[in-house]
Symmetry: C2
Subunit: 347 residues, 2 copies
DNA sequence: TTGTAGGCGTTATCAG
DNA sequence: CTGATAACGCCTACAA
């Protein structure tokens, strides 16, 4: 007794109506007599009718599904962004198809293909760390498929995007460390072809300059992955200097925590000997001892904003969008690792 | 100049073939002359033909999409499970549609509707913490839509599922604490209608009994959410006892870390005064000071296994599946918070 | 080996 | 206000 789904035509037959009439009754759209509208709805309810979205999608040319590509989902940041994306998308009646690039360029390209084939109505992307060019997005743009980037984009690219003002984040954080009286501030940074790491670094530099301090090359350490393990490596480098730093601003929380552990092992006290600040407000950053000063990026808002931007593009009939950028202001969270007297949020 | 996507019939026209021939050539399926096969593929390539999956899905009655419902995605556990799900699903040519229930029953019910309407070929679910019954899954089963639960299921329910042997996890962890010489071991648990919390608790009880120790009611604290904030609350309760515990086994890492912080604030040393163990191997559990002993659940494997089970069900033509359960063995990770001499992984 | 025809479930466009 | 009919793009008997 395998029940087939009831379709619009089942209802039509039962009620001696034309399918088109039923369709209209169901979608409330055109002019329909209240009487038949009611009859149709009641029977639909009774037969537990569920519209076949695939058919509708095929007919209408839109699937009501958004594609999302993120480097990964097991970090705090993207998990929250995805949460924001999903929430807003669902509210607007869109489903979300999720893909992870695993920080891999080739995988990302495959994801793009997948989503295009799945006929999504638009794509949201945050670039993988190994992505240096846009060529796998060419097809998307040729197809005039709405495309919005978030957080990670290529430096200097002209695309629609929602990003955090990483420059401000880097600037404010460095300024905070300066305000604490620190003068030799080191920096742990990530790959500079990604806007986020580049901008944080730029903010750091500018803050130093504004304080009439030089940017000392030996105090800047750039990593490829900004992983936990990079922390100890960075610390080794810094402590080997003739004049080690009295503060470190890391462009990522993972590396910061790695550094924290390494500093402790070297017998240095945080923040007394070395102040430490991260970036990203990962879950664990408030669970370390001392708790890590970091920068919050409004992850969920970012996801929501990205979806709204994408939906706008989808709604516009003229498929000629000019790149539009939304910039969110980050927030410095001062915690124990940077302030001798623990303080509250700033900015 | 809005390019329409090229369809199978465009190719057919261009090559003076029937659409069916092209279709077959493209899917390599039936017997086709090598010559035309080649011609078709070449033109397809040249025109950058992309199959319209919606149409195929409509025709074949399967969308090659799996639906996933998780309580949330911003914790380590589900993020990793989803990663595993996605990986295996993609390899098998399936897309993943993601929904979060936000630990809310009503939201979960809505998610189910959404996925059914999206015509997914099967659904993977981990129950929200506020879900006490299966009634919103009735329709899924009526429709004979493949359904697999993972991790969180209702205690004693007969469904296909992939779970961790939480009983063993609880047992082994408690045994580990006993092996460390602890005799008054407290337990922080979660809602008992969920298998995971119930089984961890059962394991705890049995380990005590096997050591000829009583399960003392005052040492067992059950929480609704197992959040970070529950930790301090639990600690307050335990320290107010005439005879406080010398160890705590928490059914979740968050509560454990909250407890860790509270213990420190009370001037107690971990593990010297109180040994502490969590459950879940959250990212942060290895970043605390001391590092937290916990239980790893093979999250990604769980996701993969769940997908494989679901795919099996999808492939079976007879839509008469008998509930099948896969049980993964957890792994106790001994770290600083429970062992005076830090040790290695056990089990 | 290839072509013909019908249909998956909806929606849109015409008439009536 | 309602009905008939033609797509949407693809697949699959069945026929040639």
């Amino acid at each position: 007794m395998v029940r087939k789904r009831t379709s619009i035509s089942d209802i039509a037959k039962e009620l001696n109506l034309a399918v088109s009439t039923v369709s209209r009754a169901l979608s409330d759209h055109s002019r329909i007599s209240e009487a038949t509208r009611k009859r149709v709805w009641e029977l639909a309810e009774q037969l537990n009718y569920q519209p076949n979205h695939l058919a509708a999608a095929l007919r209408k040319g839109r699937s009501n599904t958004l594609g999302v590509i993120v480097p990964n989902i097991d970090g705090h940041f993207f998990a929250l962004v995805v949460k924001g994306i999903e929430e807003v998308a669902n509210q607007a009646g869109f489903n979300v198809m999720l893909c992870q690039s695993n920080e891999d360029n080739a995988h990302e390209a495959k994801n793009v293909e997948t989503l295009m084939n799945a006929q999504v109505d638009g794509i949201l992307v945050s670039l993988s760390r190994s992505t240096h060019d846009f060529k796998h997005f060419d097809k998307v743009q040729q197809r005039k498929m709405p495309l919005v980037f978030f957080d990670r984009i290529l430096t200097g690219s002209e695309v629609s995007a929602v990003v955090v003002d990483d420059y401000q984040g880097g600037y404010q954080m460095t300024k905070h460390l300066l305000d604490q009286g620190r003068r030799r501030i080191a920096h742990f940074g990530g790959p500079q072809h990604l806007n986020i790491y580049k901008d944080r670094y730029r903010g750091y530099c500018q803050a130093l300059r504004d304080a009439d301090l030089p940017v000392e090359e030996e105090l800047v350490v750039l990593f490829k992955k900004m992983s936990l393990e990079d922390g100890p490596a960075g610390i080794r480098h810094l402590l080997a200097l003739p004049q080690p730093p009295d503060a470190i601003f890391s462009s990522g929380d993972f590396t910061a925590v790695g550094a924290l552990r390494a500093l402790k092992q070297h017998g240095l006290r945080v923040p007394q000997d070395v102040a430490l600040a991260g970036f990203g407000n990962e879950t664990f950053s408030s669970l370390t001892d001392p708790m890590l000063t970091t920068v919050d990026q409004h992850c969920e808002e970012m996801g929501g904003a990205a979806v709204r931007l994408l939906l706008e593009m989808i709604q516009e009939r003229t498929r000629q969008w000019s790149p539009r950028k939304i910039v969110l202001q980050p927030r410095v969270l001062v915690r124990e690792s940077s302030a001798v007297a623990a303080a509250v949020a700033v900015g």
